[in-house]
């Protein structure tokens, strides 16, 4: 990464009359858009840049030098599973035969693509210990929403309309309650114990009070503190007994690969973040892919389109089954079990190709080591940093570890300061101020790809920063110093939103 700011915007490099493209000129010009009535045409041409090709190439190359990715260095961002994104997977996803495939091409002409799709569904089901998966959802939060829709569709099909509540631990990711609200469900928080795990007595009380109104309970396990919920079997049993379903937020699935499956813990519905556990690149925030799996019996509630294997013809096919969605829960004229659709086509196929290539590369002999090695790295960091950083909860962690800021609270150096100082040393910061259970949360997730040397070097820097916090707190509090820009004025950005170049010209 370059330490000075490049800073230009493409609009500032534009010069009237320049061109960066070439298109064929030998086309039939009998018709042109001037035939369209004027009322249907835009008044003025869009103010897009006018640049030659090299200017555009240099501009985005220079911008990339102000960015930090996994390939640049250690990226211990908790809860985000910043694995290595294998290069070969990019090559496969870019293959012309896949990249040029129209989604409505007849199934018999794209069996290869459908086979990948189908096999990925099957592989995820095996890894999760569930019956079937849909690959339609485009991201983790999209998967959560889809999974909750499945749960509601299930209750609707049984005329169990009073189930409108979702139990969510107070330690959950913010997407859990947000997805529940978007799905029309009411959020009921389940308290955590001081050790960060679910307060089973509180859960029991909530189920006693309103068990018949509970649609589901959402859980992340290991939870957002990186701790395995020791009473998970009891919890799933209690919720099932009350008639609710168990939803597994797959954000932290990486820890369990090889050791434990959500289906075996009693979960009924879950999503997997292919961009976390299955090594597809995060791309600066997307595209992801959030497949949703269900236990046996819930398959009819998955969204369409679905890819199925037709045993009779030995063909993979796309089942769109565009049954009209029941507008009321018991409209007999419609198939009440049809959930509907959550996207136009089959989902982010390009991402699926990368995930499937990753699974094939690891194979059965290596997949099982993912969870143990990720967990080894996290526990090693936990043991080696607990002298200088406050470890709020004792015991084993899984794939990530949460500290509550610096151990020495006599300095006023915050978690934010530590995070910013890490940038100076060439590391991405851990996740900060989440989970909300602690004031100074610092959440570190190393992943299985990091070597002992990388982790030792990181630990040394964390110790250096802890020392700096005592010897020269100002240095840490004003960090970063070696990055293209210093700390930004968030208040200015929010108070007077300037979100386009055009607005910035207004001054």
């Amino acid at each position: 990464m370059n330490r000075t700011l490049y800073g230009n915007l493409i609009f500032e490099l534009s010069k009237k009359g320049r061109k960066g493209y070439s298109l064929p000129q030998n086309y039939d010009r009998t018709h042109s858009t001037s035939e369209l009535p004027e009322a249907l045409r835009r008044g003025e041409a869009a103010r897009l840049p006018e640049c030659d090709e090299l200017t555009v190439v240099r501009h985005y190359t220079n911008l990339s030098h102000n960015n930090f990715g996994v390939n640049d260095g250690f990226y211990p961002l908790g809860s985000c599973t910043m694995k290595y994104n294998p290069v070969i997977n990019e090559e496969i996803a870019a293959m012309k035969a896949f990249a040029g495939l129209h989604p409505l091409q007849p199934a018999e002409t794209c069996q290869g693509a459908l086979e990948v799709y189908y096999n990925l569904q099957q592989s995820l089901a095996e890894l999760a210990g569930l019956s079937e998966f849909t690959l339609n959802p485009c991201a983790g939060a999209h998967g959560e929403l889809t999974g909750l829709m499945v749960i509601r569709a299930y209750h609707e099909s049984r005329s169990d309309e009073s189930r409108t509540k979702v139990l969510i631990p107070d330690s959950a990711h913010g997407t859990n309650p947000a997805s529940a609200a978007i799905c029309g469900l009411e959020v009921v928080e389940v308290k955590s114990l001081p050790d960060g795990t679910v307060d089973v007595e509180h859960l029991s009380q909530l189920l006693d009070e309103a068990g018949s109104q509970v649609a589901a309970m959402m859980m992340t396990n290991p939870n957002t503190l990186g701790i395995f919920e020791p009473r998970v079997l009891e919890i799933t049993e209690m919720v099932h007994k009350a008639g609710g379903l168990m939803y597994y937020d797959g954000a932290n699935l990486n820890a369990l690969l090889g050791e434990c499956r959500p289906g075996d813990m009693g979960f009924d519905v879950m999503h997997i973040n292919l961009h976390k556990t299955f090594a597809t690149p995060h791309g600066g925030g997307g595209p992801g892919s959030g497949p949703v799996g269900v236990r046996k019996g819930l398959e009819p509630f998955l969204p369409t389109p679905r890819v199925v294997f037709n045993e009779k013809d030995k063909l993979f096919c796309v089942n769109t089954a565009a049954t009209p969605l029941a507008t009321t829960a018991h409209d007999d004229s419609a198939d009440a079990s049809a959930l509907g659709s959550v996207g136009s086509f089959l989902g982010n196929f390009g991402v699926m190709l990368k995930a499937y290539a990753y699974i094939l590369t690891l194979g059965r002999e290596n997949v099982k080591n993912v969870g143990p090695l990720a967990t080894l790295n996290a526990n090693y960091i936990k043991e080696r940093l607990r002298d200088d950083y406050l470890l709020p909860i004792e015991g084993l962690c899984k794939h990530e570890v949460v500290f509550d800021g610096l151990a020495d609270k006599s300095t006023d150096v915050t978690t934010m300061d530590v995070a910013k100082r890490l940038l100076d040393y060439g590391y991405h910061a851990p996740t900060i101020y989440f989970p909300l259970l602690f004031h100074e949360s610092l959440m570190i997730e190393p992943t299985e790809n990091e070597s002992k040397e990388t982790i030792d070097a990181f630990i040394d820097v964390m110790h250096t920063i802890a020392n700096e916090a005592k010897s020269d707190p100002e240095l840490v509090k004003t960090a970063p110093h070696n990055t293209p820009i210093g700390r930004v004025d968030d208040v200015l950005a929010a108070k007077h939103p300037v979100t386009t170049y055009w607005k910035s010209l207004e001054g």
């Binding site: 960015n67 434990c260 194979g363």
Partner: protein, 443 residues
Amino acid sequence: MFKYFPHTEEDLGAMLKTIGVNSVHDLFADVPEAARFRRDYDLPQALSETDLRLFFEQLTDPIETQQLTCFAGAGCYDHYAPSIVQNIIQRSEFLTSYTPYQAEISQGTLHYIFEYQSMIAELTGMDISNASMYDGATATAEAAMMAWSNAKKATRVLVSDTVDPKVRRVVETYAHFHGFPIQLVPAENGITSRAALDKELSEGGVAGVILQQPNYYGIVEDFTGIADAVHAQKGILVINANPSDLAILKTPGEWGADVAVGEGQSLGIPMTFGGPGVGFMACTEKLIRKMPGRIVGQTLDSRGQRAFVLTLQAREQHIRRQKATSNICSNQSLMALYVTIYLAVMGKEGLREAAEMSYAGAHSLCDKLLGTGRFKLTYPGQPFFNEFCVDYDGDLDALLAFATECGYLAGVKVGEHTLMLAVTEQRTPEEIDGLTDILTRQQ
């Protein structure tokens, strides 16, 4: 040893010793025995890189995955993208980074998102754009929820029957679970029925109206007066637009829309079997705090430099939890980068030229098909852009199967006798003649 795991036996020993356990499996001692997975996964054995490549090459041989000359659209288009788009996308600084939470080391991502937002706002004629959404269908569903939450007293959201049925189905699915009714406004000769729309509006209680331009059938509808009628009822107007056509067509902003949404795949993103694409959403300044998704804003850093940062996060799930405007946390950042580079290199003239060529190609194909006497326009007299519907009296399935045999994806069947064809600047005059020939050769 395995290429993605760097741990040697020596490393393992030292690390386990520091932790104070004997084996990595002891790190799972807190997992109840009944939940432990004690066998091997039923998955294939590991493939070397050579074998992996071979595996996918076999799946993409012409028998398994046939490359057809594409005249299909219906929401996914075979447009040209300059070579530099795919090349820059692969830069690992962009590809392997996360959401730009740490602005100091993410100015690359934040800059291009700011450029993307500026370009989308300009193309759609709206004030602001978010940093992107999953796809056009979910962006439309999010707009429907925005309309619903914005309304004080409303009973429904209206969706035109000329909106892509796949998009409608997603909107209906979201609305059903979120808890508000969707009402369909019928179509007449391929366009939204104004009489039916006016009647619905006059009855009141409309939170929003969703239209598509060009509509599902490729027709450019005249929306004159609709925005005023919707606003008079305190509803908001949502227009789902195809952004590549906005080089030429009247913008959602010019039509008076409050929210513009759509699928951005036509701006430089390969079809890849339908995903990933990118949804866009732009709106008026008034609605900025109701908008879902990430937004990048301009600010200053501690050294006085212009800098960019994620802003207005008080709308979002990680702050607001169940009170957030949406559950969305990611965007489609890398896909927004495709769009940004595409628009930067095609620029003002290139986007217009590609749109002109697509228009000219579609009308040329249409003339030729009608000239054979075997096809007639499904919606005669309606202006269309680069996609249109024709009726065919014969066996349409057999005709399409024959075209496939000849290497052509002749379009999308949208009715028993109706074929919808799309033409982009990628289709050569020879291919247009070739398709015409094939579609008339079949008896």
